[in-house]
């Protein structure tokens, strides 16, 4: 063993000796050749320096943009000492050239520097003559008088210089407002590999108008390609050249500026082409050499997702892992049930929480001490988490299937082209379905992340085969359920009292966050010490890891250290609460007196995050003579204000989820004062997209104000925008609402 590792080490040293395969002179010669070739491209758009009058006022106009991709793979045989090996040499060129007219200083700034990876080491185990990755850039400037000047690339500076990589950057010299910048980055890969998979996205839209956009691909006869044209993007024109290579071309002209602002899902809204090139061994790529597939059937992507799942399962020996976990979890649940007997149909919930406990809550002596807020932000590889959980459930006789869920911010199922377009969600299939997903430390059982809600999703049931591989059964399509606005709620109960100085407002606040609203604040506010303890007790685990450590001779000191770390985390919690209040109210409170978590919302049966804060805000009570004006509208927190350019909208609206807000405000009317202006607080804007409703009344010496804001759906058609803006405007209008406390 020892011998082989040191042999291997020696081998690697030998391989890595010459820093990069080509020396500077060779690079320069090659770069010159590449530059000449690219500058000589016969694409008329790069010769047109005229911006039409209609675009004259744009800060920047892309006159031409062209991307060229060339892929070749060659089968080679290498004779080694004892045996011979077959491998592939992969040659891939990717050139991106763009010509942009610069009309203001901000655009000048945007284009004033160019950074790129000049070298990168790639695999050349079998063939030393392969160069790895070499990138060449070219930059030239066309002055308003038509004079062209080429930028001297030797002015570049190194920013990274390691064994495996060199990064450079250059400040574009001579560039001024009014110039046209014509530049390219051309990346040339040569590597020895069995196969290579290259996904591309060509977006037919930008935050600047694009007058010409074209893509040209030359794909060697022994590579395969699939592509999908989406959201109204044009199709590639396909032809074969004399060598049988596939030539794909696409061109679009006069693309207007794409909206890239509030509540967008570009993958579902902008015209784009996605393309995958598969090079190398066709058994590995599962494609025929030379094949071009247009808008592939999404079921081929499902097949890939299945093969990913299969290979994850077997390569990582999840069979053994799930067996182990099933045993562990069984023990945990048995223990827990002694304390809290539950009906059988609740078992899946227990399994989920037990598995979550093992992944996120367990502390081992060799772990790094990470128990501050950063622990709350930990995430798991959700696919592996759920694949393992699916088999653990199965071992515990809980039937389930895996749903391949596409995100609303990516393509829908039928438009998928990569297996990574899908995440997993588990669904139990006996009795009332229970969904399971893996967003992180606080994910509940029977929860679906917001981005997957309402998505038509393929479902399948993986079954382990005796031989290597998984079988899949019960394939179907299912639309994932959607949560209503009434499930995703923020409730703020505020009781306000004027301080004796009649300037500060004392605020007692209780916040209740439901559904998708709770996740962010759980991460920000909860302490590992508390939620660990709560879950440990729920599983009736007698000893905490602290107690275990304290009892062990070897780890005794660790218990002390965790105590110190917990103390530090608890000290920091005040700042997190301070940040929470400041964000909610848009102003830093004068003082945060108290804060408290009432319910951590760790499980579905106790689902609402509840916390209390007690603080003072100054500056929201104004004095006019003997009377006081209270900026009561500010207590609902800063509301979204649309910018003038956002008031009109021609694209659909993708919001995170349907949601609602409730503010229940009571103000103690100070003795000797009456309240005026209450009638003006009452309003009601309601329509299909949502509502903003305010109620107010005086009861005894208390003013009560109730404000409800609802976004009815996660998605609205562009045609509904006007209605939605009415709700948004009503809410932001309320921010300036005032009442008067009149001295009697």
């Amino acid at each position: 063993m020892k011998l082989s590792t040191s042999l291997l080490a020696a081998l690697f040293i030998a391989l890595s000796l010459p820093l990069f395969a080509q020396n500077d002179a060779e690079y320069k010669a090659r770069a010159e050749k590449i530059r000449k070739e690219i500058w000589d491209w016969d694409i008329p758009a790069f010769k047109n320096y005229v911006v039409p009058d209609s675009l004259a006022n744009e800060p920047a106009v892309i006159l031409a943009r062209h991307q060229e991709i060339k892929a070749v793979s060659k089968t080679k045989v290498k004779f080694l000492v004892i045996t011979a090996a077959k491998y592939k040499e992969i040659y891939l060129t990717n050139t991106y050239r763009e010509m942009v007219k610069i009309n203001d200083k901000a655009t000048l700034e945007e284009y004033s520097e160019l950074s790129y990876q000049k070298y990168k080491r790639l695999n050349r185990f079998f063939s030393r003559k392969l160069t790895g990755r070499i990138s060449v850039i070219g930059v030239r400037i066309i002055k308003p008088d038509g004079k062209m000047q080429e930028v001297d690339i030797s002015e570049e500076v190194l920013t990274t210089d390691t064994r495996n990589e060199q990064q450079n950057k250059i400040a574009i010299s001579g560039l001024e407002v009014g110039d046209i910048l014509d530049y390219f980055v051309s990346q040339h890969d040569e590597e020895a590999a069995n196969s290579r998979f290259e996904p591309y996205v060509f977006v037919m839209g930008d935050d600047k108008p694009v007058m010409h956009y074209s893509v040209h691909c030359e794909i060697g006869a022994n590579c395969s390609v699939e592509y999908r044209s989406m959201n109204g993007a044009p199709d590639f024109k396909l032809k074969k050249d004399a060598d049988g290579d596939n030539i794909l071309d696409v061109e679009m002209k006069n693309l207007a500026k794409a909206p890239v602002d509030l509540w967008m899902s570009p993958f579902r809204q902008l015209p784009l082409l996605r393309m995958n090139i598969r090079m190398g061994d066709s058994r590995r790529t599962n494609k025929k050499e030379g094949e071009v597939t247009k808008n592939p059937d999404f079921r081929t992507v499902i097949s890939e997702a299945k093969s990913d799942m299969s290979s994850d399962y077997f390569r990582n020996d999840l069979n053994a892992a799930t067996k182990y976990y099933a045993g562990e979890l069984n023990r945990m649940i048995k223990q827990a049930r002694k304390k809290d007997p539950v009906p059988k149909d609740s078992l899946p919930y227990y399994v989920y929480y037990a598995f979550r406990y093992r992944v996120f809550y367990t502390v081992r002596p060799q772990d790094k001490i990470i128990i501050g807020a950063e622990r709350n932000y930990q995430e798991a590889d959700s696919k592996r988490f759920l694949l393992m959980l699916s088999f653990v459930l199965k071992r515990m006789k809980i039937k389930n299937e895996i749903i391949l869920a596409p995100s609303v911010y990516g393509p829908d199922s039928k438009q998928a082209i990569l297996s990574s377009d899908f995440d997993y969600v588990i669904k139990t299939t006996e009795g009332k379905p229970i969904y399971m997903s893996a967003e992180g430390v606080f994910t509940h059982s029977n929860y679906i992340p917001a981005a997957y809600e309402g998505q038509q999703s393929p479902t399948l049931t993986p079954v382990a085969k005796r031989s290597n591989g998984l079988d899949f059964q019960n394939e179907a399509m299912e639309k994932l359920p959607v949560t209503a606005f009434s499930k995703n709620v923020q409730i703020e109960k505020l009781s306000l009292k004027l301080a004796e100085n009649m300037e500060d407002m004392l605020i007692n606040r209780e916040t209740i966050l439901k559904g998708h609203m709770r996740r962010g604040e759980q991460k920000r506010l909860l302490l590992f010490e508390d939620y660990y303890d709560s879950e440990r007790k729920a599983f009736a685990i007698k000893e905490s890891f602290m107690e275990e450590f304290a009892d062990s001779r070897k780890n005794k000191a660790l218990a002390d250290e965790y105590t110190a770390a917990f103390k530090k985390a608890r000290n920091e919690q005040k700042d997190y609460f301070m940040n929470e209040v400041t964000e909610q109210f848009g102003t830093k409170p004068k003082e945060l007196k108290n804060y408290k978590i009432v319910n951590m919302a760790l499980r579905h049966n106790n689902p609402d995050l509840i916390y209390q804060t007690n603080f003072t805000i100054d500056g929201w009570v104004k004095k006019g003579g003997n009377n006081y004006i209270v900026d009561i509208g500010k207590f609902i927190g800063e509301q979204l204000q649309l910018k003038p350019e956002q008031l009109k909208r021609s694209v659909d609206v993708y919001m995170p989820f349907a949601r609602s807000f409730e503010f229940i405000i009571t103000l103690d009317i100070p003795e000797g004062y009456t309240v005026e202006g209450v009638d003006k607080l009452i309003s009601n804007v309601s329509n299909e997209t949502g509502r903003f409703v305010t109620e107010a009344k005086v009861e005894g010496n208390r003013l009560g104000v109730k404000v409800t804001k609802v976004y009815s759906h996660a998605f609205e058609k562009a045609s509904q925008w006007e209605q939605l803006t009415a709700v948004i405007k009503a809410a932001s209008d309320f921010n300036t609402a005032k009442i008067l406390l009149r001295k009697q």
Partner: protein, 632 residues
């Protein structure tokens, strides 16, 4: 996969894929800084020994830095960071963890800071594990400084609370060094000077010193931390005398031979200067045209590259490249002015981040270069890196600073003039009437000096199709109900005129209408209302960016049938560093409100924090007072 390196914000940033992170921290929560002492430095020894070198580097400084960390609370990894550059080499790094020699694999990287395009600074960093509570880890680094001029200062404060730190200098008899103690007040630092054979050993020891803390708007480190300024004067290691910076003459001489090596193309400058001043009659017009040409056409890009960090780029190169650092821009300004027949010089200057002046010759005295113009017996200073400052206006960072002006083989020592806050006046005048519950009327702004520069820099950072809405959003402070119409501005590239902005205002719901009364907040902006300082947390003095001078006037026209029942009381706060004046006056059918907030100084010392907080509270209280009108 598209190689599109220029795009700063990709269209599809992080939209599509959930990046799998295997059971490891994915995000760091925002914005909480604690002064925990989980790890401290139990002992740090820094040794600097001047030794004889080679012909190229006759004196080199060998330095050994040994740092022992101790874990006080819970085990963790920290990162050891050491900087070096072309003049400093790291020879050797050793790590001991809990007394045992450990493997160390330092990462060497280019050190990049946001606003510096390129620097020769490198950073060597690696993790240092602290195995358990009470355990210690030690890092020993050996460095060589090739030229003693580059050893400028040694600080006593560290990134961690330090129990003991010793700084030792071993100075052979052939080496003349002056070591100046800076900011020792308030610290207990013991010092010892011993003769050891043919050397003198200087030892400084500090105990129980708090960690450095980075706070926004702090004065530069040379103002706030105890340190030693090291001035290498001269040496004769092999009997032959080498003079470093014995006097300012020597420092100037060194600078001078560097700038003399810059081959400026006089003919090219003549041609360009001719183009710029063509048709201009007066000297002032010509000077301004040249200064503004450089401000407008040369992008500031900072280079800090070894010796090149002290040598300007050739003027013609900067002109062609259209970018340069401060030296390149100063040199181009100078060359263009000279080509147009003016007496212009290069100047070295330390900005207000630096606590020293040229009485202590050292490379750490200055960090900036500007151009001086001697015109009709008066000196003017031109700093083209301040893109929107006017001629004869000075940015706070150079005001009052000592400046070393080239004068052939000699030099001139001067100070950049101080400017009163009035240079930077930000004036606003509103004349408004009540319509329903809105305030409507005309508003005019006039901005000058650094307040104009501040706004123009931000506006020109916006794409031009967003510029107008950005300006509106600045004026309305992002509030939709502050509706701006018919917005007009003076030329947005002008540096010698006030920036004027005028618009029609319809401020919806600005008036509280209750019964027969109107309650009106005449101060929309409430400047500095939240400027109180958290005295418990704040460690350092505060340096405001410039001497602000806000003069805001509002004239409220009282509607027919109403009288003024109440105007708020005036406020006057007049401190040596700042003043707040709020005035309300009733004049016929008008209420006049005037606010003037002036920063007479930019430096607010810790001792003044309590008074400042009390004054801000008064200011806020005054802002909360409303004008009341009542129906007759």
């Amino acid at each position: 996969m598209n190689p599109r390196p220029m795009k700063k914000a990709a269209l599809f940033s992080a939209v599509l894929y959930l990046l799998p992170v295997l059971f490891a921290g994915a995000h760091h929560p925002r914005g909480v800084q604690t002064d925990d002492k989980n790890v401290i430095i139990s002992n740090k020894q820094e040794k600097y020994e001047f030794t004889a070198g080679t012909a190229d580097n006759p004196v080199v400084v060998k330095s050994q830095i040994s740092t022992t960390y101790r874990c006080e609370g819970f085990r963790t990894d920290i990162r050891y960071v050491e900087f070096y550059d072309e003049q400093t080499g790291i020879e050797d790094v050793q790590l001991k963890v809990s007394g045992k020699k450990a493997k160390v694999a330092p990462n060497h990287e280019y050190y990049s800071i946001d606003n510096i395009f390129y620097s020769d600074a490198r950073v060597c960093h690696f993790p240092v594990p602290l195995e358990k509570k009470g355990s210690e880890s030690e890092v020993v680094i050996n460095k060589t400084i090739k030229d003693p001029r580059y050893l400028t200062s040694v600080y006593f404060t560290e990134a961690y609370y330090t129990e003991n730190k010793t700084v030792t200098f071993i100075v052979p008899d052939w080496m003349a060094v002056e070591i100046k103690e800076m900011n020792f007040n308030g610290y207990t630092i013991s010092r010892r000077k011993e003769k050891n054979g043919t050397s003198t050993v200087y030892t400084y020891t500090i105990r129980q010193v708090e960690a450095r803390s980075s706070e926004s708007r702090s004065p530069g480190p040379s103002y706030i931390y105890p340190h030693l300024l090291v001035m290498s004067k001269y040496a004769s290691p092999g009997g032959k005398k080498i003079t470093y910076f014995n006097t300012l003459d020597d420092q100037y001489g060194w600078y001078r031979q560097l700038v003399q090596r810059v081959e400026n193309d006089v003919a090219a400058m003549k041609q360009k200067a001719g183009e710029i001043v063509k048709g201009l009659e007066t000297d002032t017009a010509k000077i301004k045209a040249i200064f503004h040409y450089v401000q407008d056409n040369i992008r500031y890009i900072a280079f800090e590259d070894g010796i090149a960090g002290f040598m300007p780029e050739k003027a013609q190169e900067v002109l062609n490249k259209k970018y340069g650092d401060c030296k390149g821009m100063a040199n181009l300004t100078k060359e263009l002015l000279r080509a147009a027949g003016f007496d212009a010089r290069l100047c070295w200057i330390g900005t207000n981040r630096i606590a020293y002046d040229y009485s202590t010759p050292s490379l750490s005295v200055d960090n900036h270069m500007i151009c001086a113009l001697n015109h009709k017996g008066k000196l003017y200073f031109l700093d083209a890196t301040e893109t929107y400052i006017g001629f004869d206006q000075y940015a706070e960072r150079i005001q009052g600073r000592q400046v070393l002006i080239e004068d052939g083989d000699k030099y001139i020592l001067e100070r950049v003039p101080l400017r009163a806050p009035v240079q930077n006046t930000d004036y606003e005048r509103k004349v408004v009437s009540i319509e329903g519950t809105a305030l409507t009327g005309k508003v005019e702004h006039r901005l000058n000096g650094e307040s104009r520069e501040w706004l123009l820099t931000r506006l020109h950072g916006m794409k031009k199709d967003k510029l107008s809405s950005a300006l509106e959003s600045y004026l309305s402070e992002g509030k939709q109900k502050y509706v701006i119409g018919n917005l007009q501005t003076s030329e947005l590239n002008s540096r010698d005129k006030e920036l004027t902005i005028a618009y029609q205002l319809n401020h919806v719901d600005a008036v509280g209408s209750f019964g027969d009364e109107f309650y009106i907040d005449l101060d929309y902006r409430r400047d500095f209302e939240n400027a109180t300082i958290d005295i418990e947390k704040r460690k350092h003095d505060i340096l405001f960016p410039y001497k602000q001078n806000l003069v805001y006037e509002t004239e409220l026209i009282i509607p027919e049938g109403y009288t003024v029942s109440q105007v708020p009381a005036a406020l006057l706060v007049d401190e040596p560093g700042y003043s707040f004046r709020l005035d309300f006056k009733k004049e016929g059918k008008r209420v006049l409100y005037r606010k003037e907030i002036t920063f007479k100084e930019t430096h607010l010392r810790k001792a003044a924090f309590e008074k400042w907080n009390a004054d801000i509270r008064q200011l806020k209280k005054a802002y909360n007072e409303q004008v009341t009108l009542v129906k007759q």
